[in-house]
Symmetry: C2
Subunit: 191 residues, 2 copies
């Protein structure tokens, strides 16, 4: 909870009274490995703050899974297209490790917006952050070949590499596990 408040404070100012407001608005959820925060056909009812653990966001197209991103400690996580409009989603958010989350519901977030001076501002800044990283990904998909995307993943998340099975990384990069294996082979030979 302390990490959550500090993270919020890195976006906006919080008066001591406002700080008191925060804990009751969030509740803790625990997920075991393989359990879901969001499943196909469900609505993403919360924004989650990861206190502990690791999750992946993915879609299932005709039996083929595509991983959009991974979220680990001290990151906010949601599927905004479903959360913002409170409509049914076709995406999944799954824990890859035993995970602890602090979650806020849509209604409680509206409450936060109403009662915290710079609440709306926080909402805007937070979504800006998420938006910027989505753009960055989109950009990389447009311009970078799989090999470069893999290397960027290694560079950006060196600590996560050991925690994530290779076939999930492949699906994040946008290729099959076999192809990632060949790319790794090629890269290894370069050194």
């Amino acid at each position: 909870m302390e990490a959550l408040i500090n993270t919020i404070k890195s976006f906006i100012r919080l008066s001591p009274e406002e700080e008191q407001l925060i804990p009751p608005l969030f509740s803790e959820i625990k997920l075991g490995t393989g359990e879901y925060l969001l499943e196909e056909g469900g609505i993403c009812r919360v924004i989650a703050f990861v206190s502990e653990g690791l999750l992946r966001f993915y879609t299932n197209n005709d039996g083929e899974e595509k991983t959009g991103f991974f979220s680990s400690e001290h990151e906010f996580l949601s599927y905004y297209p479903s959360f913002l409009t409170q409509t049914v989603s076709d995406k999944y958010i799954q824990a890859l490790e035993p995970t602890k989350l602090l979650v806020i519901t849509y209604d409680q977030l509206q409450d936060f917006y109403a009662r915290v001076q710079e609440g709306e501002r926080f909402g805007r800044l937070a979504i800006e952050q998420v938006y910027l990283s989505a753009i960055k990904q989109l950009d990389s998909f447009y311009t970078d070949p799989p090999e470069k995307r893999y290397q960027q993943f290694l560079d950006s998340y060196p600590k996560l590499v050991q925690r994530i099975p290779q076939y999930y990384i492949a699906s994040y990069v946008g290729i099959k596990p076999q192809s990632l294996s060949r790319i790794r082979n090629r890269l290894a030979k370069k050194h």
Copy 2:
């Protein structure tokens, strides 16, 4: 200007007094075909509302242009990663037709946020919109082959197709003009 105010009103409520505030905050810019709203090495200093015309957003990677999106009448347009942080960008926004824009600068937008009751809310909702469409594009890049992406472009922007040269459409779809030509050929033979 009327179209702009109506578009803002589709997001938030505006009191009559607040409505008066809007026009002075925006200024009109005209661009001829081929002229730029944003060039590489520049900072995106405004958010623009397209009153008339058509623009494309693109990057230049080693002499190869990649088109991110097109914007036409009554759409908001900016390159947020540069605008939000007011940092140098490596992207271009170029008019494909004679174009009229209503633009608001970063400072004037902060003014708007401060003086309009639901201003921050508008900022949040607006960026949410932009974010959702970015996600949709990202999703389509992950999952759809070029052929499908082309058909979706035809379906989504039937009116724009005649206004945009094919090689820009190819670069939007993510392939070379030659490949798009072959895809069009294949599709034509199906009917």
